[in-house]
Assembly symmetry: C2
Homo-oligomer: 419 residues x 2
């Protein structure tokens, strides 16, 4: 079964909006074994829109559109499907009642223009929209389906999950797709590509490699008649990857994030955490604060952006004098001081230089990360030659993955990322 | 002049990669007055790719492709253009020498497969690529142009800026496009839409409204034969917008960000800043740290995530006892304490509750922001009913815009954003 995605709206063609709906739909379709062959963005031009929709309907088993279901004269998706099918739109009494009810709840009468959101053509049925006024359309003619969905992600996502996804899956029951994502840190994309080159030749499972904020991801996708058979294909590949690149390099799988791993481990051990950070400027604390339940383990972070203020936060001035502020000894002492300052079980600290051309006190992109628990301290260093904004993010990932290793009693990895 | 964009690569159809190139190219083309009429994503299938390229070449003045210029057998853009034009690819000696030189610099011999990156067809010339091995193609036949560019953003962006953009602009010299972006905070998207509804009818300048992390943006785009004439169209609209919604609501224009405004003002006044934050968990400091030169004014932030640690950071425990930790008096005292802790001229503080279902000590999404300079303190409050991750970002924006107003001697805005 193949599919085609059409994103509708002139704002997409102006580059004012990045079209995330089509990526979302494409990855969802891949999961249920539907091959996406075309993705098109088209503006609110009636002639072009009708042409694109008609071509899609004829050449694709399933066409998914997003956008153009609003009440204005620029919203032309329904009209274009009706024209392609050669059918007339008619107002449906029950839809109209429902729509008027939505406006009553909002406390004002329905504008006349919204009436077209209550129409159907004979070949279409509506798809409920719990998050907006525009219902979707499921239109089917000559064995080919067009599904029209609204544009806002907060409307299209639940509509896909509750109705459209299961309905399409039911038409394609004999294909199971399983995805396994291995997340790595410490070897560059080029290095992994070389080490795993035989595996990249495989078609099923298919192996992809992606450079992300938190390292390089290796994603295997297998297709089979059942989930169990798809997993049978994936497992040997995962074993082989782990053997070749080393267990140490794989820090997580699937939905794991550096924050979620560090948070789970701290909570499992019943530890609280105090942070002292200069390099990451608050990002390390902010990333952890975004994890649900973070209040239970995160006590705080001292973002100390001036070396002369480290002493006031409990760092030994003699160490700074002897080694300078960007140094493993200082990072370890900062971790110890963070524990004390926030009365926490574990201390985590990071010091280093970001790409600030006005600062000449050391190599840019180098950080030292310190860990402290009880009387035990440890540290690691990293060098991340990338842009200013990504530097902090790389360093935060490095610190959190280092913390996980430290708490598990493993030696931290020192990193010099090539990209 | 119209254009079409084709993004090439099976990974795009799997939803594994969000296609940012097409949005970038679309917004760049809009700036030079070229209308984008279609955007298509297509996989590495030779038949489909050729069909898509041939249709684009015939129907569009300019077709821009990204991706498919690599050395592997899946990289088929050159082959598809050659097939559409009915021409043969031939290796160019000078290109081959250059390519071999790139590999010499990298320290290993050129793999045989890369040879196709040194080919041309008679109707094409190369476009230099300073950031990769694949040169672009500028192919022109029957008055229609196809420009083939590499997929990686770090290659396509400089190639656009240095060569392709100016070359296309030169073919379309009599159109000037001017964009003016007014950034607002404090009125919901629906409210602005209603207040400005007559202006939204205008075609030139065209007015768009966009909900962003830092508030609602109003963007006017005017087209005219010259820049000066386009500005003549924009100015009265800007004046009218400011009159209708109020100068207070417009906090910035074009490339302004809350961080950049706060940073410029602090630097202009020669002030240093200390922060104390709970609600934003380090995000406020992190956002400011991302501004170049932040080391000159940002002294640090105390991210205090537990109320019982506020006292240790210099906040008066009697205030917390009397009012609770989430309160305007506490926010003001935190700002005063932040000034002192970091020995800074200005103190900024934020306290509040994020959407943590495990915490029941007050209304979720409410924050209090404190400002301190010398003996003067001030505060404001905000309520942002949105998702956990966006809450912090809204609050950081509110705090930074509040700081700008405070430093300018204006009363802070209390906010209750509807969305």
């Amino acid at each position: 079964m193949n599919a085609e995605i059409i994103s509708i709206g002139t704002e997409l063609l102006m580059g004012e909006l990045v079209d995330t709906n089509s990526s979302f739909l494409a990855s969802e379709l891949a999961k249920i074994g539907v091959e996406v062959r075309w993705v098109t963005k088209v503006g609110d031009d009636p002639k072009l829109l009708r042409e694109v929709i008609e071509r899609a309907w004829k050449r694709s088993d399933i066409t998914l559109t997003s956008g153009g279901l609003g009440p204005t004269s620029d919203d032309l998706t329904r009209e274009s499907i009706a024209a392609a099918f050669g059918e007339e739109m008619a107002v449906q009494d029950d839809l109209l009642e429902h729509l008027k009810g939505l406006f009553v709840n909002r406390g004002f009468p329905m504008p006349e223009t919204n009436i077209k959101q209550a129409t159907l053509i004979p070949s279409a049925q509506t798809v409920p929209n719990d998050h907006g006024t525009a219902p979707g359309w499921w239109a089917e003619k000559d064995g080919h389906v067009i599904v029209a969905m609204p544009g806002p992600p907060r409307e299209i996502l639940p509509m896909w999950t509750s109705t459209i996804g299961p309905k399409i899956k039911a038409r394609n029951p004999d294909v199971a797709i399983v995805t396994r994502n291995l997340k790595t840190f410490g070897i560059s994309e080029g290095g992994l590509d070389e080490m795993l080159s035989p595996l990249f030749q495989s078609k099923n499972p298919y192996l992809g490699i992606y450079s992300k904020q938190d390292g390089i991801h290796l994603r295997a996708i297998a297709t089979a008649p059942t989930d169990a058979e798809a997993w049978e294909l994936i497992r040997p590949m995962e074993t082989e990857i782990r053997r070749v690149i080393g267990e140490d390099v794989v820090w997580g799988t699937d939905d794991d994030t550096p924050e979620s791993l560090a948070a789970s481990l701290l909570q499992a051990k019943g530890f609280t955490l105090g942070i002292m950070e200069s390099f990451t400027g608050g990002l390390l604390a902010s990333n952890l604060a975004d994890v649900e339940g973070s209040r239970h383990f995160l006590k705080g972070s001292a973002v100390v952006y001036r070396d002369d203020l480290l002493e006031g936060h409990g760092v030994d001035p003699k160490l700074i004098e002897e080694y300078g502020p960007i140094n493993a000894h200082v990072a370890e002492d900062m971790a110890r001081a963070a524990r004390k300052l926030f009365d926490a079980d574990v201390g985590l600290a990071i010091t280093g230089l970001v790409a600030d051309p006005t600062d000449a006190s050391g190599p840019v992109g180098t950080s030292h990360i310190g860990f402290a628990i009880g009387d035990s301290v440890s540290s690691t260093s990293g060098h991340y030659p990338t842009s200013r904004l990504r530097l902090r993010s790389r360093a935060s990932t490095h610190a959190l993955l280092g913390l996980v290793r430290f708490l598990n009693g493993l030696p931290p990895q020192s990193l010099s990322m090539r990209r």
